[in-house]
Subunit: 439 residues, 2 copies
């Protein structure tokens, strides 16, 4: 969601047309439009995306949705096979002929021959473009980006292969900035949070939002929790920037404790860096998450500096034999209990020889729940050199989402413990997934 | 790819409208439209997708792109916060009032109270819908699907949270089929394969495809490998069905060995069922995948019947202390070697007390590669009651994809071992990621 900004709704923006049958037949999702938006850095607001099949009338209808003055980005259908007809379709829509860039053709033919490709007929097609556009060289593949004015719009045509598109985007954005089509990005602040539900977080922000309705507010779910972003208008004057700073200071008071990053950084990377900065190491004991936490910690390169490994203690026998959890604890308290969570974290830290150890034991669902311990009940424990913490959480969703919430919560608890004074409880006091009562 | 079908271009189809500022600001790509297309099983061909912001005039313009008689699927903006306005916007576009479903409201309030949520005001909003639509219960979250006729179209409204949308889709498709909006799926055959690259698999299919160009051929990448599908036209006559069967028989010869399912089943579920059917149990020793395999095995409910757990042996010390890999083996052969892979699988099977154990040790990248063992080099070992197998693979991609290929390959190797006669090598002889030479 975002606060309504009606002035922006009528200013010329970005209109995106994604071309390809594969986008309409369940074979692939249109992820290129997002790549284009990210590369433009919020400088131009997308007004809409239209996804159309490889057919002239559908592409024309998609382009008709754009308005004079807008930036129109068309992705897909620039390959060299006979089915790649986007060049022809855009030329027809604009009422201009196709021209051939002789220099580009010669360059592509030379590149083809250098790779031992005898038949370079494809180079002629790849060098064609609607008259008025110019090519930007593709270093990854053969299809160039095509940029220039058509029918009062600034048109950008990009190949649909993600690696080629990504490779071309920096040159395209530089070209657009030089011509003033794309302004510098809008001044903005970001909070990336974990451990709290969207509704709870939005409620915390609401009083600030009411005082600063002139800012652009947005929040969205992430794999870790909820992100909050506030922005001033692009090229906002100093008073607007001062209001942005004031709102940011108020928001920091309300959601700072649960914020793991104020830049587009991932929680697993933040944790990795926090461990590294303190010379700390991590091991994990995972029951219901069964490896999901270890996999998340090791996603980013460099994790072997701080992560030792751990035990996937799905069965009770593995909890007992590999982590030394006493049999009677498992029997009397149950695998999902404070006592077992503590024993798992302590046993894991000792046996793996790490400074820190996280343990997760819970009922992910759909089965296994009871009145006392409903589905979602999850104990998270953290062993540090100074202390042993454990807390019960009640995640509200299905098996897959409950497991991901457990991973995000465990990582954020570890992050808070690493930045807090030694021995201080790492738990948040606010309305999180945590339960004050155990079980 | 898919054969062009120009007659279908003019028949009433599917029109998709994805609503959400987050889809236009680079925060997330619209992946829901593809989920809807897949759930409809190709029975209705999508004519286009429009992605619009949370604004009434934009949503109305998106809906205006649909045609009478079409199925219109709207995703996003059904949450309970004041910014989730899709219900209101669709009602305005259709010229109908919003009505409240009292029974649904009571049900949602009861569910909220059962979870200890005192303030159930949100339930009232979640129970509102454009007059003429009816709700289908959401078992994952609170926003129901809304289905029914509006302005000569069949309208379906779905929440944008992927897990909720996925949970609702089977009921939505069943509702559409009952009303004849979605025809029965076209007669088709599916092969879900693992262990082979897309290009290699396509090459194996090519001779059959040339003999049966009248069938609809498609293939696409999945999280496990590549899916191949051939289909006759919907309501095809018996001769066409006979050709479908003949092509299927030829294809089975060529890609059957690498096929883990011939229905929309997931590899981790196939493996779980194969273990259960044989009274077998699994444990895992994961180095470079660091828990990804355990997480995949336990994704589906019921995994505790067959999965015991294992060890995330990221650091060499954990390989030595928790799985008994001899120090000199690690030193002389290196952690990524046949000897260590075998020791990991055997040690894991013994210590966890499982019938089967999988071990993965590799260089996921981007660092750690050498001329002898480049990035992607990955040993996979399998210990069974009868034998101990190990093989080197060379995955061709980046860290994240190499890790996923290792998990898919390990699971498919286990599947083949479970269905093969005891002791028979579970490896494929064809062009897979496997290397004949070690290292």
């Amino acid at each position: 969601m975002a606060a309504r900004d009606d002035s922006a709704a009528n200013t010329p923006g970005l209109w995106q047309v994604a071309v390809g049958d594969e986008l309409l037949e369940g074979r692939t999702a249109d992820t290129n439009s997002r790549r284009v938006q990210l590369a433009l850095g919020g400088g131009v607001r997308a007004r809409g995306i239209v996804v159309v099949p490889d057919r002239a009338e559908a592409v024309a209808a998609g382009l008709d949705g754009s308005r004079p003055g807008e930036l129109v980005v068309i992705t897909g259908g620039l390959g060299s096979t006979p089915d790649d007809l986007t060049r022809e379709m855009v030329a027809a829509w604009a009422g201009v002929p196709l021209t051939t860039d002789a220099r580009l053709q010669a360059e592509l033919e030379a590149r083809g021959r250098a790779r031992g490709i005898a038949d370079v007929a494809w180079a002629k097609r790849q060098a064609q473009m609607p008259a008025g556009l110019e090519p930007l060289t593709n270093r990854v593949g053969s299809a160039p980006a095509l940029v220039g004015p058509l029918r009062d719009r600034t048109v950008v045509m990009l190949p649909g292969v993600p690696a080629e598109l990504e490779g071309l985007l920096p040159d395209v954005v530089a070209w657009l900035r030089r011509r003033g089509v794309v302004p510098p990005p809008a001044p903005a602040r970001l909070w990336r949070t974990a451990q709290r539900a969207e509704l709870a977080l939005v409620r915390s922000c609401e009083p600030v939002r009411e005082r600063y309705p002139d800012l652009d507010w947005s929040w969205w779910l992430t794999r870790w929790g909820v992100d909050v972003r506030i922005a001033a208008a692009p090229a906002a004057p100093p008073p607007a920037l001062a209001r942005l700073d004031a709102a940011a200071a108020e928001l920091e008071q309300r959601i700072g404790a649960t914020t793991f990053a104020r830049a587009p950084e991932e929680l697993n990377v933040v944790v990795q860096e926090a461990l590294l900065a303190r010379g700390a190491t991590l091991a994990v004991a995972e029951s219901c998450t069964a490896g999901l936490l270890g996999a998340a910690v090791t996603e980013a390169a460099g994790s072997s500096e701080v992560f030792l490994g751990g035990v996937i203690c799905y069965a009770d026998a593995v909890k007992r034999d590999q982590l030394g959890v006493p049999e009677d604890l498992l029997y009397k308290r149950g695998a999902v209990s404070e006592a077992v969570a503590r024993a798992l974290a302590a046993g894991c830290r000792e046996r793996c020889g790490s400074t820190h150890a996280l343990a997760i034991t819970g009922i992910a669902g759909p089965g296994g729940g009871s009145a006392e311990k409903p589905v979602g009940t999850t104990w998270i424990a953290l062993a540090t050199p100074a202390a042993l913490f454990a807390r019960c959480h009640r995640f509200p969703s299905n098996r897959s989402h409950n497991r991901r919430l457990a991973v995000a919560t465990a990582l954020d608890v570890l992050r808070r413990a690493l930045v807090a004074p030694a021995g201080r409880e790492p738990w948040l006091s606010e309305d999180t997934w945590a339960r004050s009562e155990g079980g």
